[in-house]
């Protein structure tokens, strides 16, 4: 009697045990999910509160003003003849009043947009070409090898790209005063100097290598630490991510679709165009994810950008981006509430921007484009 357990009594026990674990697991996973949401909410809240002093002072003009000036500027007291007055006791110039510090994210926003656009111009044709090659041309034995290399590139830490940009690419691009002999011609050593030397003779392109300082036009000394180089570095950095995602997207185009085009007599070019057109919104999503990475990149940009809070008028001039401004100025901003607030507002802009990029991109790649849901990154 004791040795046999009837199924009817074992059943409920088993179910009870399982339901206890169920509840535990349910609480744990729900808690985990809520914690992530909570973290995001806290992050936004903390940034928002810290940014309040700057928001109150500058309002929406913060987004457009390119003046980033953490210190007050004195306006000197002048005598009747327009000369400065010196304090007879201290021999210091007498200050009439101060113009308060001013902060605006305009220059950083411009730098972010300029470098990201330049990066996309370089990376998109390269990545889509590589993806198309992998899906349609590459021999089967080559695909895993190239795919591995692309994923390997994506795993390289950004500071390594930055160092490469600083020590290899930058000096290669810049170098205003060195001249080298190439095929019997005297040419400036750096690529930028060569572009500049050509552009100066083309009326519409002079802006590439000149800028205006105090009303007069001067040549920009190409240094290899500017928007041009930062864009190239960013372009190289986002090639792997765009390639990997668009490869998966292209791969998920139904085979019948492609066979259909070929059956209809499409050339290789026409069928590729059809393929890209078929999954264009998912490919656009892949590009957006690359853009999100370019716009948020910090270390590599900080090292090759020249870090100057002004809107550059030439691609060979130094600039700054949202993330580079944050990384560069935060350590010394600890004691000024307004500067800290302005930096927090920059962080908030960066956060919102990458949230929007990511949400839109994910919607395009995964949400709307069902077939690729399983493979998309």
């Amino acid at each position: 009697m004791t040795a046999t357990v009837s199924p009817s009594s074992a059943g409920p026990m088993l179910r009870r045990g399982r339901s206890g674990e169920d509840v535990l697991l349910r609480v744990a996973v729900t808690g985990g999910a809520l914690a992530i949401l909570g973290m995001l909410a806290t992050l936004v809240l903390v940034l928002f509160v810290a940014a309040l002093p700057s928001m109150r002072r500058f309002g929406p003009a913060f987004l457009f003003s390119s003046e980033w000036r953490p210190n007050a500027l004195p306006v000197l007291k002048l005598d009747g003849h327009g000369h400065t007055i010196r304090d007879p006791r201290t021999a210091m110039k007498v200050v009439d009043h101060y113009r308060a510090p001013a902060f605006g994210a305009g220059a950083s926003l411009f730098g972010t947009v300029a470098t990201s656009t330049w990066a996309l111009l370089l990376a998109v044709p390269l990545s889509l070409g590589a993806a198309l090659f992998l899906v349609r041309i590459a021999p089967v034995w080559l695909v895993p090898f190239v795919s591995f290399l692309i994923e390997f590139l994506a795993a390289i830490p950004s500071i390594a790209y930055g160092l490469w940009g600083m020590f290899v690419l930058g000096p290669w691009m810049g170098g205003p005063a060195r001249w080298v002999r190439v095929l019997g011609m005297q040419l400036p050593a750096g690529i930028e100097s060569r572009i500049g030397a050509l552009a100066i003779h083309v009326p519409g392109l002079r802006w590439i290598c000149t800028t205006s300082v105090g009303g007069k036009t001067v040549l920009v000394p190409p240094t290899g630490r500017d928007i041009f180089v930062a864009g190239i570095i960013l372009g190289i950095m986002i090639v792997p991510i765009i390639t990997a995602i668009s490869r998966d997207v292209l791969r998920s185009v139904p085979r019948e679709q492609m066979e259909g085009t070929i059956a209809l007599g499409a050339t290789w070019w026409q069928s590729c165009r059809e393929m890209i057109f078929y999954c264009r919104s998912a490919l656009f999503g892949a590009i957006l994810l690359g853009l999100a990475r370019a716009a948020g990149e910090t270390m590599a940009v900080l090292m090759v950008m020249g870090n100057t809070a002004a809107v550059p008028t030439s691609p060979f001039m130094a600039g700054t981006t949202l993330s580079a401004t944050l990384a560069g100025e935060f350590p010394e901003a600890a004691t000024s509430d307004l500067q800290r607030g302005a930096l927090m507002e920059v962080a908030l802009i960066l956060l919102v921007m990458s949230l929007v990029f990511n949400i839109v991109a994910r919607y395009l790649v995964i949400g709307k484009w069902q077939p690729s849901a399983a493979t998309a990154h």
Binding site: P70, P74, P176, V220, R225, A318, T320, P331, T335, Q339
Partner: protein, 331 residues
Amino acid sequence: MQGGGATFPNPIYQQWASDFGRQHPDVRIEYVGKGSGAGIGGLIDKTLDFAGSDAPLNDEELAKARRTGGDVVQIPSVAGAVVLAYNLRDLRGELKLSGPVVADIFLGRITQWNDPAIKSLNPHLVLPDIPICAVHRSEGSGTNFVFTSYLCTQSDEFQTQVNFGKTVRWPIGEGAQGNPGVTQALEETPGAIGYIELNFAIDNNIPVALMQNESGEFVKASPATASAAGEAALVDMDRYKTLTVRLWARPGPNVYPISCFTYLMCYRDLGYLRDRQRAQAIVDFFWYAIHDGQDVATELAYAPLGQGVRQRVQQELDTITFNGQPLHHQP
């Protein structure tokens, strides 16, 4: 004891901390070089027992500190200098510059190396016809503070357009990170000019310009000429009854014009530490810094404090108290 702040004096503070620890085995001094601003912030919110900073507290910081812990003692620990380094490989001889010319370069008013203003200071040099690329520190730093403060005394236009501070808005040029970043940019870019700390230039053997001082003399930066600037500032220390005086733009023989103090700071009353021995340790460490500590300064390419400055720092140290009771140094 936990201290932190300016990175410029970090090497010598580490040396002092370990030497002091050897003399006082029961005390452990730690100093973390993470920037003057971080040091001051740590002092204000009392996460640090003492702070190092290249710039004295400004009014806003002083007011904050008074609210949390009362008056602050700020003593010079060593002097240093900011030097102008350049990359002109074919230049035969030493470049001479003056304050107004440097201000004009960093304002973007002088853009070529063969500008008449530079030529007139260097009549014996053949200056190349290449553009000047001005390199500045991109992140906030005490070096920026000293350099811009000096240029403000040299040019009205610089004062009204840039003014001084740890981070300022530069009208032209490019930014590089830290002394190593500026040096790297200088080495890569012919025609570049930038400012770095003296000890960094000495350690890395970088050519620097002679600067014209307020007496019209061209002076090479060295620990000796920076110390001389400290002694030249004694007048103001006595006149304004403070140790936080400017060292830049001081007249006098062999006085380097872009010199500066770096400061150690703690609260004047250390009662908040609750432990008299810890309070005593801070005073003893500061005492050590301005006495035995000065002997290693020149070796590490810092400028030791002159006799007159040391004497005034001692007087200041005697004002530190623990709940109102004086904490004299006990040898």
